[in-house]
């Protein structure tokens, strides 16, 4: 780990810019957006309004096109993605466990570089306490699925950068001149802060919920009644992977994939109109149980890492933490 001032962070961006298009939180007229940087100095420390999902699974993308009697598929390249939070990186690992054999996803994943910003301040909407906490540590429960290349912390105007992979160590090596080793006292302060934040983020109990989440719980209809079906909870969720594909005539025929939402009626509608999840509450149940029961039972992981983006993006104020608390109550 090395420690430095703000120039260490800018230096990191500069080094990555030599090999990648760098995606990081930057300001757009009063909003912080996770987007490609044009200049290293543009990176900010605030949490951006969008999740990193679109840089691996875009909102809408062309899978292939058929032109002049032949198929052509794009060969996408990944990005160096900075400033995403541990919860979001863990969610991307969930995403990879599902999408990992998709050639476009895989091609992006394999050529991406991830630098996670650990949380030295609690965030208002997250609940990662039971789901990994505010840093991606060496003994992180998600460690068996992968690790970010770098992790950086900010505390009292200082930036701490740590490498978690070989590739990360390489990049860190190039930054030696911009920082120094961390003192034991500094590390202790950092550990203290992280554990305080962790304590704060234990806002709702998640572990064990798969045993309690009933099929016929009244929570589903209560929250479904309030859902206006905007899809935002799915779209903003870094681990929601469901998509729709369609063929379009754009001069050439193109097959397009776009984010979909399990809360929409058409998502599960079949030919001739039959629909196993016709009622809104059936679809709400699917969303909740998929994340907290089915996925857990098949993979051992919850398909939710407590980032809180869904509740931030919900126009009706549906709060997933509240949903989970309901499920605990009989």
């Amino acid at each position: 780990m090395i420690v430095g001032g703000r120039e260490l962070l800018d230096g990191l961006v500069k080094v990555l810019m030599e090999r990648w298009t760098v995606v990081a939180p930057r300001e757009v007229e009063g909003n912080v957006v996770l987007a490609p940087l044009e200049d290293a100095g543009e990176i900010v420390l605030d949490r951006p309004l969008n999740s990193p999902k679109e840089y691996l699974l875009p909102q809408e993308e062309i899978l292939f096109e058929y032109r002049d009697g032949g198929f052509k598929a794009p060969e996408p390249r990944g990005y160096a993605i900075l400033g995403i939070r541990p919860c979001e990186f863990r969610a991307l690992l969930m995403l990879k466990s599902v999408m990992g054999e998709d050639p476009l996803f895989l091609s992006r994943w394999n050529s991406s570089f991830f630098a996670v910003q650990a949380c030295t301040e609690p965030c208002p909407s997250g609940f990662c306490g039971d789901l990994g906490g505010p840093e991606f540590s060496g003994i992180d429960p998600y460690r068996p699925l992968g690790a970010p290349d770098l992790q950086y912390y900010t505390l009292d105007g200082r930036v701490f950068v740590d490498a978690l992979t070989e590739r990360g160590k390489e990049v860190l090596g190039a930054l030696r001149d911009l920082g120094e080793g961390a003192t034991e006292e500094e590390l202790e302060r950092l550990r203290m802060r992280i554990s305080e934040v962790w304590e704060d983020m234990k806002r709702v109990r998640v572990v064990g919920i798969e045993e309690r989440a009933r099929w016929d719980h009244p929570a589903y209809s209560y929250f479904a009644e309030r859902c206006i079906q905007c899809g935002a909870c799915n779209f903003e969720c870094p681990s929601c992977f469901c998509f729709d594909i369609r063929d379009e005539d754009e001069g050439a025929w193109v097959r397009v994939r776009e984010w979909d939402s399990c809360l929409l009626e058409g998502f599960s509608k079949m030919a001739l109109g039959a629909n196993p999840r016709k009622r809104e509450e059936d679809r709400m149940r699917q969303r909740i149980l998929h994340k907290f029961k089915y996925f857990k039972e098949t993979t051992g992981f919850y398909m939710c890492t407590g980032c809180g983006r869904c509740l931030e993006a919900c126009p009706s104020g549906i709060d997933l933490r509240e949903v989970i608390s309901w499920l605990w109550r009989e």
Partner: protein, 674 residues
């Protein structure tokens, strides 16, 4: 790659969004966190619906009719043909033979120019737009009673209210972000919903007043009756208004016990509603369910009365809020794309028209022009000979569609300016391809009077051009000396001529989230809340509303009432939304909602095809059996040309505002196929 901050093109809420664009293609859409109206949220149309702009069906070249067919032409030829067609009508039959239609989907600048084109180039007040079909009664009644026809509160005031009274607005479907913001606030607050249909907000309401279609005045008067009888009147507000005594006498006869016979609403619920609005800081919301009636203007008056006598106007979290449908219907109305006023609500006898004459360098008409809702009847009679329609599709959106199509057929000359071919452009002699929301810079005015910048971020397809440019070129081809180098020049003319917009300059709108009119000077912060401390009119005017039962009420021959409206997933005549895959997937075809009781009577199953007939037309649609509608009432969305609900709607209108009675149409089931 670029990131552009703009405003959603769909409804009047005016949600801020950030669009990521690469290679002329929208890559991502993000809800804007810092925007006060949507605060980091969007509905499905915002998230998904904006991709229509890149659809291959877009109009890319001007078209002119040659030998009965529309063929591609150069801009020069198309503009000359358009100018000639209008010029001929002008010479042969005079300016009153030409009708100009603006669009609540276009910018303030385009709309300002199109009404200027009608008035200063053609010389007629025959200019209107779809506000005629939505909030003409609101503007009429609220302007007269309060001195301003617009929403009194900013959207963010929803968080400050203690109660909500929603009547005739399916808010979560038509203004989803406002509807959801009400839901978000429901803990510890009261919600009253008055609607014949059990809409989402009605299911969440503390009090659902399920009155019969067309009985809004009896219902509202009975609530006001209880307020007066139980001594719940806010006397301070009565002191700030005139006409209370007359209103009080009128209200005497509307006791809830008596009105139950008309409305079907039990007195107990009326009393509960009265107590809530009298005791809590209440925001009133209403929309087409109030206005689209033969008594539309009087309906609005009944809402205003109730809000004023309970002291619910001009306070944070209390006010009268007509929800404007289109992204810029507020602006198109402010800038007078209507026949009865000049921009900034200058009536036809206002000396301010002299100022317009001076700036525009010509004498201007002062006679009331033709309204959109009568234009096609007039065309059928040969009084209107030519039309110039920008961004509207009356062949589907206007009542009595069969007559509209015949009238379009009969026109000597028709210009349609749009982004897609429409049912209306099929009748055109000249089709002018316009830039879409994504390709045109300008300003729009959201429902809460917030004037905001929209930004061009891709190039128009083919030879399509921005509306302001097209109107300017057409005016110039007709001999006008218009000089505009961009929409900013048009806005500065608006700043000069429209007092409410005086301080809302192009430069000021560059950053931030817009400015609420009225804004009288460049150093004025704008006015988020109207009537604070004092009504714009001075004293509010209370008007005893006159009620009459709907003329198209059900009878033996037509035993059901059809009410029309929109659905969440589509927009108006679907020119945009049917080209967005997920929206089309959700609601792929027209339908009629039938109550389980009526379904039993007629042998209708969910999914049956039924024939629906009125005195004016017939359509065939699939049934959705649902308890959303009460027995005796059916609901049909008006979006679909293939089963145009508006083919069933007749000629009944509100005499005061000209709005068609879309909400009450007597119909019958003419047949059922399994």
């Amino acid at each position: 790659m670029k990131l552009v901050r703009t405003v959603c093109p769909y409804c009047g809420v005016g949600c801020g969004m950030i669009v990521k664009v690469r290679d002329e293609r929208i890559i991502s859409v993000y809800p804007e966190r810092s925007h006060p109206s949507n605060a980091g949220t969007l509905c499905i149309k915002g998230w998904k619906g904006v991709r229509y702009v890149g659809h291959p069906d877009r109009l890319k070249k001007p078209l002119i009719r040659k030998g009965g067919r529309l063929v591609e032409a150069s801009w020069g030829e198309a503009l000359r043909t358009a100018a000639q067609g209008l010029g001929n009508a002008l010479r042969e039959w005079g300016p009153e033979s030409i009708m100009v239609v603006g669009s609540a989907k276009c910018t303030n600048e385009a709309n300002f120019l199109i009404q200027k084109f009608a008035r200063a180039v053609i010389g007629t007040n025959n200019v209107d737009h779809c506000a005629r079909l939505c909030h003409a009664p609101t503007v009429k009644a609220m302007f007269r009673m309060l001195g301003s026809g617009a929403m009194t509160n900013p959207i963010s005031d929803i968080d400050l209210a203690e109660a909500y009274f929603v009547i005739g607005s399916n808010t979560t479907e038509q203004h989803p972000i406002i509807g959801a913001r009400i839901i978000r606030n429901l803990d510890g607050k009261e919600l009253i919903v008055a609607d014949p249909r059990k809409i989402r907000l009605a299911r969440l309401a503390d009090v659902h007043l399920r009155h019969r279609p067309g009985s809004d005045i009896p219902l509202l008067n009975s609530i006001a009756h209880v307020v007066v009888e139980e001594g719940l009147v806010d006397w301070e507000y009565v002191g700030r208004s005139e006409g209370f005594e007359k209103l009080r006498r009128e209200l005497e006869r509307w006791d809830p016990g008596r009105t139950q016979g008309i409305t079907g609403v039990p007195p107990r619920l009326v009393e509960e509603a009265a107590e809530i609005v009298a005791e809590k800081r209440t925001m009133f919301f209403f929309a087409m369910g109030i206005t689209q009636h033969e008594t539309g203007t009087q309906n609005v008056a009944a809402v205003v009365n109730l809000a004023v006598i309970t002291g619910n106007v001009g306070k944070p979290g209390a006010g009268i809020n007509p929800l404007r449908g289109q992204n810029n219907v507020q602006g198109a109305t402010d800038l007078a794309v209507v026949p009865e006023i000049y921009p900034g609500y200058a009536t036809l006898d206002d000396p301010r028209i002299g100022e317009f004459e001076e700036v525009w360098g010509t004498s201007l008409p002062r006679e009331m022009g033709v309204m959109l809702s009568e234009a096609f009847e007039r065309a059928k009679q040969g009084e209107i000979r030519a039309m110039y329609i920008m961004g509207e599709n009356p062949a589907v959106s206007d009542p009595n569609s069969n007559l509209v199509r015949m009238a379009l057929e009969d026109l000597e000359f028709l210009i349609v300016q749009d982004i897609f071919p429409t049912e209306t452009s099929e009748y055109a002699d000249v089709v002018l391809p316009a830039a879409s929301w994504a390709e045109e810079d300008g300003t729009i005015t959201s429902t809460d009077r917030r004037v905001q910048r929209v930004r061009a971020f891709i190039n128009p397809p083919g030879e399509a051009m921005p509306d302001w440019w097209i109107i300017t070129q057409l005016a110039r081809t007709m001999g006008a000396d218009w000089e505009y180098n961009g929409p900013w020049d048009v806005l500065s003319e608006i700043n000069r001529l429209v007092p409410q917009y005086r301080g809302i300059t192009w430069e000021r709108l560059e950053g931030g989230h817009g400015i609420h009119w009225p804004c009288p000077s460049v150093d004025h912060p704008g006015t988020p809340r109207l009537h604070e401390g004092r009504f714009v009119r001075g004293k509010a005017l209370l008007i005893p509303p006159r009620w009459k039962p709907p003329s198209a009420w059900r009878d033996e021959e037509y035993p059901l009432i059809m009410t029309t409206g929109r659905t969440y997933f589509h927009w108006h005549t679907r020119t945009m939304t049917r080209r967005v895959a997920v929206l089309q997937r959700e609601v792929p075809e027209p339908y009629v909602e039938v109550s389980p009781e009526d379904a039993g009577t007629y042998g209708i199953r969910d999914g049956s095809r039924v024939v629906l007939e009125s005195r004016h037309g017939r359509i065939e649609v699939r049934a959705r059996v649902s308890d959303i509608v009460p027995r005796g009432v059916v609901f049909v969305p008006f979006h679909f040309a293939e089963a145009a609900a508006n083919a069933l709607v007749g000629e009944e209108k509100d005499p005061e505002s000209g709005i068609p009675a879309y909400k009450v149409v007597a119909v019958r089931i003419g047949g059922v196929a399994p």
